[in-house]
């Protein structure tokens, strides 16, 4: 009892101590010094822990990668501030408050999820902070509601129909199964695809399974012989791999058609599957080879969530650098303006990057791959 009382008291006073620390801790970063050294910070909002940490960590790694490369290239001193959202809007709100009240932060990468963007959009708009997402694809986000929002990926309302039409025209299924993973990203795509399938008179079996579930045998059993295509608009590639394994194990011949998240050479390797991705296979782009190599060496295998965030971070880096070059100190306003004016002739995504007034990526390309028996991703020329 005796020490315990004290221990508790100790803990509490430690809080106070830390609290005092906080006042000095945050907000510093000195914009005064920035003029000379071009020192400022970028915040990243991603699910760094929790059920989809696999996405968040990959995004973080590529952001760090882009930042270090750009810092050396542009002689800037930009630092990255982590904000863990666990793909949860409430946490995203808290993180966003942390960023907006930290004066040294002049731009934000993320958040990852569309529902998070909806939660934090107003806050960032009020703070005049530019934020660029590498994975929020809901169509509703770029209707002008969030003036400081940008994304380096296309929206569901473009990708969905495009994929659906390809399936209808090239794979001619009589019946197909489409499985969403109960996340905003997935349900959005499904909503965009369904009408087209129904129009084409295809019998659609719409299933839905939580991202956390890894047992698909009972859904796979529902794949009828007539069902020749299974559409998986998922975020977790290894889940799709397991789905494919279950198909094989139950001797089902249906072809998997996946979207962005499934693009993951080495993880998703089901022979004959299709993957439509907003990111290219950066390992196949000569210009990106070095990046890919570095990433692989530093963080191991990666999927399709890293490169877009790399691009997003790069856009912010360049914006800040340009502000510095013009002799001004990077402020939120100036960075925002510079991001709006972004015009990258080329990028890690294998296409030029510039934004519409609503913040969408101009003529965002899609890349469709077919996986062969060796697990290699072959680009299907569109």
């Amino acid at each position: 009892m005796k020490p315990h009382g004290i221990a508790a008291a100790a803990a509490l006073s430690a809080l106070v101590l830390a609290g005092c620390g906080s006042s000095g801790g945050s907000g510093g970063g000195g914009t005064s010094a920035a003029a000379k050294k071009c020192a400022t910070s970028i915040g990243i909002e991603a699910p760094l822990t929790g059920p989809v940490a696999v996405l968040g960590q990959e995004q973080l790694h590529f952001a760090e990668l882009a930042m270090s490369m750009d810092n050396t290239a542009n002689k800037t001193h930009i630092t990255l501030v982590q904000g863990d959202t666990q793909l949860n809007p409430q946490q995203a709100t808290t993180v966003t408050q942390q960023f907006t009240s930290n004066n040294s932060i002049t731009g934000v990468v993320g958040p990852a999820g569309s529902q998070e963007v909806e939660a934090v959009g107003p806050l960032l708009a009020r703070a005049g902070l530019a934020f660029i997402s590498g994975s929020a694809t809901a169509a509703a986000l770029t209707t002008g509601t969030y003036p400081t929002f940008f994304r380096v990926v296309s929206k569901d309302s473009v990708q969905g129909p495009q994929d659906a039409n390809y399936i209808v025209q090239n794979l001619h299924p009589k019946a197909l199964m489409i499985v969403d993973d109960q996340e905003a990203y997935s349900t959005g795509l499904v909503a965009a695809m369904l009408p087209i399938f129904q129009q084409a008179g295809i019998k659609v079996d719409h299933e839905s399974v939580s991202q956390k579930v890894t047992d698909f045998s009972s859904i796979v059993s529902k794949v009828t012989p007539a069902t020749t295509v299974v559409v998986l608009p998922w975020q977790v590639a290894s889940n799709a791999q397991q789905f494919g394994r279950d198909l094989a194990q139950q001797h089902k011949s249906a072809v998997i058609f996946g979207t962005d998240g499934l693009f993951s050479p080495g993880t998703f390797t089901i022979n004959g599957s299709y993957v439509s991705s907003f990111g290219p296979d950066i390992t196949a782009i000569p210009a990106d080879a070095s990046i890919a190599a570095t990433a692989k060496a530093k963080y191991g295998s990666f999927g399709t969530f890293g490169p877009p965030v790399f691009a997003a971070t790069h856009v912010l880096d360049e914006a800040i650098a340009s502000v510095c070059k013009s002799g001004k100190t990077p402020t939120r306003a100036s960075v925002l303006a510079a991001v709006k004016a972004t015009n990258e002739p080329t990028s890690i995504l294998g296409q030029p990057i510039s934004f519409t007034s609503a913040g969408d990526l101009n003529n965002g390309k899609f890349f469709l791959f077919k996986i062969d028996s060796t697990g290699k991703y072959n680009l299907i020329p569109s």
Partner: protein
Amino acid sequence: MSDEALPPPGPEHADLGAPQLAGPQVGADEWVARQAQRHEHLPSWLGAGQRAAERAGWWPRLALAAVAGLLLPVLGLGGFQLQVGIDALVIALLAVGLNIVVGSAGMLDLGYVAFFGFGAYGFALLSSAKIGTNGIHLSSVLSIPVVMIATGALGLLVGLPSRRLSGDYLAIVTLFFGEAFVEFTNNVSPGVLGGPNGIVGVDTIHAFGVQVSSNKAYYFLLVIVLVVTMAVLRLLDTSRTGRAWRAVREDPLAAAAMTIPVDRVKLMAFAFGATVAGLAGTIFAAQQISVFPTDFDTPILIIIYAGLILGGAGSIAGAATGALVVMVIYDGLLRSPTDSGYLFYGLILLALIAKLRPWRRLALVLAVTAALGFAAHAIASAIAASWVAGGPQSTGLIADALRDWVIVPANPQTAGNVGFVLLVCLLIALVQLKGGWRTILLVPTLYVASFTWETVLSPNPSVTRQLMIGAILIVMMNARPQGLLGTRRVEVAQ
């Protein structure tokens, strides 16, 4: 559950929680003596404070806390801190509500967060464009009470099983209910509930043309709501209703034999708890101007329970304090690497001061640790520069202090991982060992701790955040199982 299950009578038994007294003691005198002694084991200033607080009675204390809370923003609490404050206050409100069911009536309700969600969704539906052509934007003076009553009714419904189920069986059923709620909002009628996209564009709290929109406003609102709720619940707790709740917690069968309608009393507890959660939900939805299924998933429930039990289930003040502490640590300090650095080293130091006596030994340990550090650093740098190329990862004062002390290799990740595992093993060993060995082992442990922090923990703030909160929960529960402000209880297996 016959006689041997009962705790043995007073003199032998009353030492639960309180320290053993030297010399023979009997009956009441012993109890009285122990009450007096409760203060003596605290440092004088703390003891004095505690005595003063106890003399003051509950409402001056509450009022004082309220004033302090209201003053904080004036003293320049803003932006992020304000947001953390709001989150913390919401959780505190929930913890206080949960305390009715868990603390007073002694039922394990693992579906509580669903009432929070129900309140939030209820408010969102009543104050957004979701229902009807252009929505019903009901005035908050109406919508909030309506939602609260509805949530209370739901509480009654969910409480019904408590008439047949008890203990962990009730817990699991309520847990199912909570999970079912998330599944429901996520999958059922996306047209209205929005599925994973939730409901956006919720009105802020508005009545008679007055809009509560700024975070400061919500902070003040929440402080007031929390304090009022606590006062109300305190008054209720000291009334016949509160006594009935506790009687049912202690022994339902005896309670029934003493004219207490057990089932009705349990249902009341559920209803009151739910109502408070509903209230919290409305404010949450209005402040976030949006609601999503993930806002009401298990992690929130865990935080609420952590707060309640850390503070001391059964004590209203405890519930609120615990929730505030947990949230300030988890949502505030641990989010910033700098602050969590201060927290990390601060906690270690204070734990040492608290646990390590006499002072000579403490000084010795610190000195030896310091020496060890500088020596190790010198040797390492002598062997190869790359071994110390990294430099401390944490920022601010700490970094400067530790520059020539802690070894940080050029590529810290792997070394850090090893250090981390080693640290955990050392800590477990520390618990096992006794006396002198423990003191000796303390030195390397301290150094490894610092090493691990500087190499891997500090550079991965978001992972470290989760690790730290986990560790803090474990340590705090071990230090004070009855919670910060809770009183130790005897538990009779019924």
